[in-house]
């Protein structure tokens, strides 16, 4: 009986992996964007004055954002994992047509992320401009390589 339950559980777990290729890669790349968004939310709420500025928390968020910017993207974007190939992704096929440019746009995150890390603990008023620079780097890539949501 026990064996049967375990086997059924494993079978149930295995189903999504069979249903779609590159499931792990999709989860990994979307997870890193989620980590960015959560930390941008913490910093953004402080910049807006919706939560009280907390230098330590701001630094921790900036450190996390910087850490994500250091993740090597190559293994997360295998050929055949675009929106044309798979459900649940907005990655445009152009990524693989211009992979060097795509990779360099990711590297462009590094400078504003480093700057954010340097200024995050210096005061609430430093956050807005630093986040603006980071937002530019996000937009530069989304603009060319992410399909619209609708």
């Amino acid at each position: 009986m026990k064996t049967f339950v375990v086997a059924a559980a494993i079978a149930a777990l295995a189903v999504p992996a069979v249903a779609q290729e590159f499931d792990g890669q999709l989860k990994a790349r979307q997870g890193q964007f989620r980590i960015l968004a959560i930390n941008l939310g913490i910093l953004g709420d402080m910049a807006k004055g919706e939560t009280e500025y907390d230098a330590e928390a701001a630094q921790a968020s900036a450190d996390s954002i910087h850490a994500v910017s250091m993740i090597n993207q190559g293994p997360l974007w295998p050929e055949g994992s675009s929106e044309a190939d798979l459900d649940g992704t907005r990655a445009k096929v152009e990524i693989w047509e211009n992979f060097d440019d795509f990779a360099s746009k990711w590297s462009d995150l590094s400078a504003p992320a480093t700057n954010l890390q340097e200024v995050a603990a210096t005061g609430q008023e430093a956050l807005g401009p630093a986040l603006g620079q980071l937002g530019n780097a996000c937009s530069a890539c989304h603009d060319e390589y992410r399909a619209s949501a609708n």
């Binding site: 960015l36 968004a37 919706e50 603006g132 530019n136 937009s139 603009d143 619209s148 609708n150």
Partner: protein
């Protein structure tokens, strides 16, 4: 008999001639501009808020090169392809040898120094609400920018849109310096109105157009099909957008939406411009949008 047959023709010719005369390109009253002295620093704010560079820098230009207004960017529309001209201070290739009043006629009335109509891809229908002093300040600032000798490229439009004289009738219908928001309650709303309705020309994309391509101001900022054909431009009036004023001002500074997604498409240059303006301006835009009637 012949006279009788010719009478309707004569009437037609009179009407056509009258229509062309009524719709001939208008120019500003030069006397209004004679005594104005532009302030280049104020002009820089006008320049950034009006987003001049966003359309007139060379395709692919980055950073400082975006101040070289050589033109050349293409804009695909259902009427054909528009190409932004050289508006750098070069006397030959740009607008360096214009007079202030000629510049004012171009920016606020869509009339070129040679007396022809500009197409409203150039958002003079919004800039027409600018005060002469704003135009003088802008002119003074633009003369401090680097010159480019790149020749302007022609538009590539489908018939009948290729006939410039037809724009006279279009302007008679749609070129108005009336504000959409009447009687703003305070200075913040007045500044917000100037930014949204005149300088940043938000209505050009966020307001739907009627069959002849004029803005339907009864549906002001309620969203519209994307002129480049890809999806929908979102509405930003209170019934369409539930962001708080803080959210809107923060978005215009950083490009992050309330759920921390990042700005895309043609809003990227708009946010780049707004990020360079004072915080009070971003808040004025937010206050204006929230003060619009829900429709």
């Amino acid at each position: 008999m012949l006279r009788k047959a010719l009478a309707p023709l004569a009437i037609l010719l009179l009407i056509a001639g009258g229509a062309l005369w009524l719709t001939q390109p208008a120019t500003v009253d030069a006397a209004e501009y004679d005594d104005l002295t532009g302030d280049p620093e104020r002009g820089e704010t006008v320049f950034i808020a009006a987003g001049c560079a966003s359309c007139h820098y060379a395709p692919g230009a980055e950073d400082e090169a975006r101040l070289i207004l050589s033109g050349g960017q293409s804009f695909e529309t259902e009427f054909g392809t528009f190409r932004a001209p050289n508006i750098s201070p070069s006397p030959e290739a740009g607008i360096g040898n214009w007079m202030l009043a000629e510049f004012a006629s171009a920016v606020t009335l869509g009339t070129a120094p040679d007396g022809s109509h500009y197409y409203p891809a150039f958002p003079y229908t919004a800039y027409t609400r600018l005060a002469p002093q704003d135009v003088a300040d802008l002119w003074t600032h633009m003369q401090t920018l680097p010159a480019s000798d790149a020749a302007s490229e022609p538009h590539d439009l489908r018939f009948p849109y290729s006939i410039r004289a037809s724009l006279g009738g279009w302007k008679a219908l749609y070129l108005s310096d009336d504000w959409v928001m009447q009687d703003p309650e305070d200075e913040t709303l007045e500044r917000g109105r100037q930014l949204v309705e005149a300088l940043a020309h938000c209505g050009e994309c966020h307001t739907p157009r009627d069959a002849l391509g004029g803005l339907d101001t009864s549906r002001w900022l309620s969203g519209a099909p994307n002129p480049s054909g890809d999806g929908q431009i979102p509405g930003i009036s209170p019934s369409e957008l539930d962001w708080s004023e803080t959210d809107i001002a923060y978005y215009l500074e950083t490009g992050f939406t309330p759920d921390y997604d990042s700005v895309g498409g043609h809003m990227v240059p708009v946010v780049n411009n707004f990020a360079q303006l004072p915080e009070s301006d971003r808040q004025a835009v937010a206050a204006y949008l929230k003060a619009l009637p829900a429709n």
